[in-house]
């Protein structure tokens, strides 16, 4: 902040002030770093070092008991030859590409419905949210019980309409659809996010649209959806990242010790395979390579979504 040469005699005073300011700033920086230090330490120990070490491990053979044995890119070569990797990727893509759009559509539908519920909205919101509170292990168990081929409630309900329900929990074709349907049960959080966004849409927009003769469908597509596109995109991205890492419900229902009769490769998702390699077979090196592949895939998808969103998402004020 150099001042014009006009007040030349003031320079020494200015200098002193500047020095004091600098000292103050240094003190402020020190205080800030003190407050931030827990995160800095945690970042180095539990994020930065693990990333580097995982990169190193992916180039080795390591079973925890013996020292890592450097094998170069062998683990990565194996990734492309391993049939289970291909299967796990197929399963995971299938699940994510179908589940995420369904999830967004269902949450939007429920949020629109809830937005019209008037005074009883609180009650219905609670009903929609409770499944989200259920531990995923219990969700996995509910899946086995409700979707059971012979005596499950779902098939019984389908029976009322004359539909002969499939063996959701054993037939490889129906395992993933069952998991997807079950996952829709926990849309509650997304519904709340979208509802909050809906309530922020200015009423005038609808008023003027109605004056222009727009019907409900047009209002929804031309006003509501564009106005809440930020929240929709947020849900889309968060769920895509979660979808690629889906684990607990499927692992509970279809894998685990003593569960050889039920274990079902149709539910072998990528993180389940990674978990098995790392902690059941103790192939830490290979599992690290698997982790890196997943990381790259998620990054690519997130980047694509970011680019696409720039075209379609409207942020209020558009300050960015």
């Amino acid at each position: 902040m150099a001042r014009p040469a006009l007040d030349a005699p003031a320079v020494p005073a200015d200098e002193r002030a500047l020095r004091a300011k600098r000292r103050l700033r240094r003190r402020e920086t020190r205080a800030a770093l003190l407050f931030i230090s827990p995160w800095i330490i945690g970042f180095f120990v539990f994020t930065a070092w693990p990333i580097i070490y995982s990169g190193y491990l992916s180039l080795t053979d390591y079973d925890v008991i013996n020292d890592p044995n450097f094998v170069g890119l062998a683990n990565y070569e194996r990734l492309f030859e391993d049939d289970k990797v291909r299967l796990a990727l197929q399963n995971t893509f299938f699940f994510t590409l179908i589940q995420v759009p369904l999830y967004v559509i269902v949450s939007l539908a429920l949020a629109l419905l809830l937005n019209k519920a008037g005074r009883s909205a609180g009650f219905f919101r609670t009903a929609f949210f409770l499944p989200k509170m259920t531990p995923p292990v219990a969700v996995g168990i509910l899946l086995l019980l409700l979707f059971n081929g012979q005596s499950g409630m779902i098939n019984q309900a389908l029976g009322w309409f004359g539909v002969d329900g499939p063996a959701w929990t054993t037939d490889p074709t129906w395992v993933k659809p069952g998991l997807i349907l079950m996952s829709l049960w926990s849309v509650g959080a997304s519904v709340i996010i979208l509802l909050a966004a809906l309530r922020n849409v200015p009423q005038e927009l609808y008023d003027s649209a109605r004056v222009d003769g727009a019907n409900w469908w047009q209002q929804t597509w031309r006003i509501t959806v564009p106005m809440i596109s930020g929240a929709l995109f947020f849900i889309f991205i968060v769920n895509t990242i979660a979808g690629f890492q889906t684990f607990t419900e499927a692992y509970t229902a279809f894998f685990g010790s003593g569960n050889t009769t039920y274990s079902n490769d149709a539910a072998l998702f990528y993180v389940i395979y990674l978990f098995q390699q790392a902690f059941e077979f103790l192939h830490m090196g290979y599992a690290s390579a698997l982790a890196w592949l997943l990381f790259v895939i998620i990054m690519i998808f997130t980047a694509i979504q970011m680019v696409v969103s720039r075209r379609f998402v409207y942020y209020e004020g558009e300050q960015r």
Partner: protein
Amino acid sequence: MTIEPIGVQDTEQPDHDAEHTPPAPVQPRKKRRVTPGKVVIGALLTITTVVFIYPFIWLLSASFKPRGEVFDNKLIPDTFILDNYINVWREAPMALWLWNTILVTVLAAVTVAASSAMVAWGFAYFRFRGRNLLFGVVLATMMLPGAVTMIPVFLIWNNLGMVDTLTPLWAQNLFGSAFYIFLLRQFFLGLPRDLFDAAKIDGANNWQIFRRIAVPLCKPALIITLIFEFQAAWTDLMRPLIYLRDSDNFTVPRGLKALLDQFGFGGEWHWEIVVTASVITTVPMIILFFLAQKHFVQGIATTGTKG
């Protein structure tokens, strides 16, 4: 559907007043009209609510049924028994599992709230060079899939000899968590800065400003952090799967998985035990939700709109 005006809220107000004023002799002229649109919405809401609530009722009801009737899909048990609840406690160290879980969840929630608040304050209040860059790194770690760091982090705890203890399930929270740092910083930024400057002039040091003024003011955000983390720690299965070996150290979800493997698939086919244990695992979360419903809803709504 017809053009249903969003006027639902508008008609609400007079109705609401009518309830609280003493009964007027004259009926309010504007009665709530039942339009076809409202009927459709009401019906849809009812159906979806039944679909969402039904699994809970099914589970609860099955937990009171004898072994042979678990799969009969009746809402009211033909034979109502409490034996399952007694048998679960006999078959599994349920009390121990519950205790372990409470320990982990409380420690996880308290430590993450304390550390994240400190870090968030560091980013919100102080001005220093590189702040935005550093905060960008915080946000970037949120995008990092847990799978990438999972193995080295396990090796750290393994080297410390802490595998098969509860420590790895919560101790990382001592160092803050990006999501909560983001949430709390957002909240701190919303507080008027004059307040802190005034305290500074009054001679408060940095710690006092944080502890005495900022923390009490951000109580709502701290509550959100606590309940979110409480839920996350309670429901987690992956970390207990990785770190816990001896069944005496299990958390409830890990124990539930073990019960499923033993009684569900393991040939024993005692699903009533699995069902009852599922109820025990779930009920605390339902209670938590009803205790803190407002905060849950608020917390989720903010993460979605500010994220």
